[in-house]
């Protein structure tokens, strides 16, 4: 279990699936990370979970983000390259009450520390839709910088939008961390 100032990151338990499925119904929040949102039954999510449990060396490593004893979002590695020591991750806060209040960036900071200090990744990166200014600001506050902008790569609520790639090197993060009070 990883502890931040406001959140804890922990494994996704079977008991969490119902709550996660409920959060998934907040389509307007899910769309930021999943612009092609589709309905999925709780049973389908449970089936996916069972499958993932049986994978010994899963590429994905998932956490739930918990605050005040409630699951409010997720964060995790979606792709990793162990030869090059890089990982791509994703994060989302799906409980409206906890949006824009620093919970996401607290989760990202804790996650970065784990990925660099314990898992020995050398580089972390992510992609984010250009209109998602709140997320971009949070990632910037954690030290990520824009590395590429794929023009009109995605479609968000019916409009073509740019997709932004952001990255952070471990050497930069140590600098960011040292600069924090």
């Amino acid at each position: 279990m990883l502890k931040g100032e406001k959140v804890i990151l922990r494994a996704v338990e079977k008991d969490d699936l119902k709550r996660l499925w409920e959060l998934e119904q907040n389509v307007d929040l899910l769309e930021w990370s999943q612009p092609d949102w589709m309905p999925k039954s709780l049973a389908a999510r449970e089936k996916e979970y069972e499958k993932q449990i049986e994978e010994r060396h899963a590429e994905r490593i998932d956490f739930v983000i918990e605050a005040d004893g409630k699951v409010i979002g997720r964060i995790g590695i979606v792709h990793q390259n162990r030869m090059a020591h890089n990982a791509i991750f994703g994060m989302g806060i799906f409980d409206r009450e906890y949006l824009g209040r620093g919970y996401g960036r607290d989760a990202v900071r804790v996650f970065i520390d784990w990925a660099f200090r314990i898992l020995n990744f050398r580089r972390l990166s992510l992609d984010v839709l250009a209109p998602n200014e709140r997320a971009i600001e949070a990632y910037q506050a954690c030290g990520f910088r824009e590395e590429a902008r794929l023009r009109q790569h995605s479609v968000f609520r019916g409009q073509p939008v740019d997709l932004i790639y952001m990255g952070l090197l471990r050497s930069e993060w140590q600098h960011v961390r040292a600069a924090r009070p």
Binding site: M1, R10, A11, V12, K14, I53, I118
Partner: protein
């Protein structure tokens, strides 16, 4: 069940898994074992437990104290032809760390390894940063046999792996001198 002065050692049961899951949340203590830490759901521990039943592995103990699960110890890399095996031990309840519970469990475990199971040589590896474990192993008679420089990435730095070993005859000699007595 094997009985020590402070601890007892018994087989793992399915009912231990929720407690084990709770203990495995301690990033700091879990790192001492593998150098890393991943979020593991209870469902995965249950899956592995079922798998281990199919394999029929029976050289893993749960370490109990005050009626609670506090850690585990078990054999790895067992080679019956040469009579050598290695082990790993961990105390994962913060309240029981550094208070002799691990050493107590190991004294019982060593008797089981050398006498009941008739192993001739027992070895282990630990990280150079884990001084507490190193001293505990030394007190039990293990001697340093080698160091692999910067073998593992642990807590932000590359640290050495230390190999330690103990032969049955060394253990018997110490025991007959009363250095390491065992009850039960």
């Amino acid at each position: 069940m094997l009985q020590g002065e402070k601890t007892s050692l018994r087989a793992w049961e399915q009912t231990d898994l929720p407690r084990w899951h709770e203990l495995s949340r301690s990033v700091y203590l879990m790192q001492m074992g593998g150098g890393d830490w991943y979020p593991e759901p209870l469902a995965r521990l249950e899956y592995w437990f079922k798998k281990s039943l199919e394999k029929g592995a029976d050289d893993e103990f749960a370490i109990m104290a005050d009626g609670k699960l506090i850690g585990g110890v078990g054999l790895h890399h067992s080679d019956r032809r040469s009579g050598t095996t290695s082990f790993g031990i961990g105390i994962y309840d913060e309240a029981y760390v550094g208070r002799g519970y691990g050493s107590d469990a190991l004294r019982v475990f060593l008797t089981w390894v050398f006498e009941t199971q008739n192993w001739r040589r027992l070895w282990l590896t630990t990280w150079s940063t884990n001084q507490r474990a190193y001293r505990a192993y030394q007190k039990l008679g293990f001697v340093e046999e080698g160091r692999c420089p910067e073998e593992v990435y642990c807590d932000g730095a590359y640290v050495d792996e230390v190999i330690m070993g103990l032969l049955r005859e060394e253990w018997q000699a110490r025991r007959s001198r009363g250095v390491s007595h065992v009850k039960g």
